[in-house]
Amino acid sequence: MAAVLLVDDDVELAEMLGDYLAQDGFVVTTLHDGLSGAEAALSGQYAIAVLDVMMPGLSGVEVLRRIRAVSAMPVLMLTAKGDDMDRIVGLELGADDYVPKPCQPRELAARLRAILRRSAPSAEPSSAPMVVGELCIRPEQRLAEWAGVAVELTSTEFNLLEVLARNAGRPVSKSDLSEQALGRALVRFDRSIDVHLSSIRHKLGTLPDGRSCIQTVYRQGYQLIRS
């Protein structure tokens, strides 16, 4: 079963969440400080890392930054409820999703499963490479290329791009994107999709006329331009 690394400075809480997740079929390791958390995350033993944002010493955001410097492993952030800054910063740095704290352990488990399911290479037969303009997506290898050069995407970013590519030339609504790529319904005022897409735009090249290949369609969502 999936190995989960849980990093939270609240020892009791980490213990309880670990207990819950273990019962739910995950193999959980809990750590209580950012430094050892970052080290463990980069050891390659874990399928996903859950990071608490508020930690003394090395904060969750800093741990995420260290992880993202070398690895695209799935990362879920535990953020304080109502603290949009943490959330946006986390997503911008490449977190796959976040769960506001205090959270139901059930929800945490569901999000973990959603991310893990999405980041696993898809076994569908229809996963032939998709080519849209300069962009080429290989779902079976979870690889994206722009003009023949591989693009480093986090698993959530890859999922979003894949959904857009499947619907290239048509706008995809944010709620569809959320359901298909993030595995959960869109919540009001949730800016995750926008942040992820802005990050994808930065990673992909531009069209010959200088525009980004992903366009915002007013009130409808996003569209990958089929050139």
Binding site: D10, L13, M16, L17, K101, P105, R106
Partner: protein, 376 residues
Amino acid sequence: MGRLFWKLFLFIWLGQVAAIVGTGAFFWFEHQQSPMRADWPPPPPPQLGEHRPLPPEFDRSGRPHHPPPPDGNRPGGPLPIFPLIAGLIASLFCAAGVAWYFAKPIRHLRNAFATAAEGNLDTRVGSAMDGRRDELADLGEDFDRMTERLQALMAAQKRLLHDVSHEMRSPLARLQAAIGLARQQPGRLDDSLARIEREGERMNGLIGELLTLSRLEAGVSGPLEKLEVGELLAGIVEDARFEGAAGQVGVDFAASPGLFVQANPELLHRAIENVVRNGLRFSPAGTSLQIGAKLEADGLIHLHIADQGVGLPAAELEAIFTPFYRGRNLATGDGYGLGLAIARQVIATVNGKIAAKMKADGSPGLLIEIVLPAAD
């Protein structure tokens, strides 16, 4: 230009006009009385600072070679119309200048107050008062001090609110996790319920401490009594010895007899207990906590509570008295993070002082010094 400017302007100008008219009338009248002196050189200009432009014109007007008045009733020569007008104009500028000089800083202040009232406490008037050294400039400085202080207080309140919500969230998160566990593993229901109970108590404790702190900050200190410090400390030490025994921490206690303070017994007990508990918490096993009280030469009672733990970096000595402050490398422990903040407030209500220091002999550990005024 505001109303104040026009008022000042009008009053100053009217005053000047009255002075001009009065002086003019006096000389004109005098001239009428003694036409014989008309050939004499003009009298020295009147020494009235405000009427600088006035005298020459006025004097010139008094000369006798002017045509005699057409009107028989006014034999002393014509009214000095031209100098009067010149004087009026000059006084107009003078009055405008003076009025502007006073109205301008007041307008600045007013604007500053208006922006401050709208909630923008970044406003400062100091720069607008450049070069002024009078009561208005002092007022501006006071305003700046006030906004600065308000800003600091508001920032502290905001931080407290933020910290409180964060502190409340941790037990809530554990509460939710415990509930989740209870649902998932009904077999361990008792365990989960005990946890839920504990977290509930913890939140209750935290709220209690917060209320105490806010009451103290509002200046509610309860009835004061004359207390014997040694007696008060002895009770706390007894509890501390009991608590410390579990962690093999001893307590050394020495207090001079006959030290009295005027304080609320419950609050002072709590304040000192908080400090002692804090000391115990950071005492490694096998060490001892030293508690002492004596009257120093400055006539104040000095209490010392010194542990032999790792101590604190100098930069954090002051910060430990702020609510929810936790040393960077310390485990969160089981406190609420409010103990020392409450202690400081209590000590402040009896005009005492509390400070964290490094030990004078350089040995490791933290020394908390409480200075209390002695009661007669």
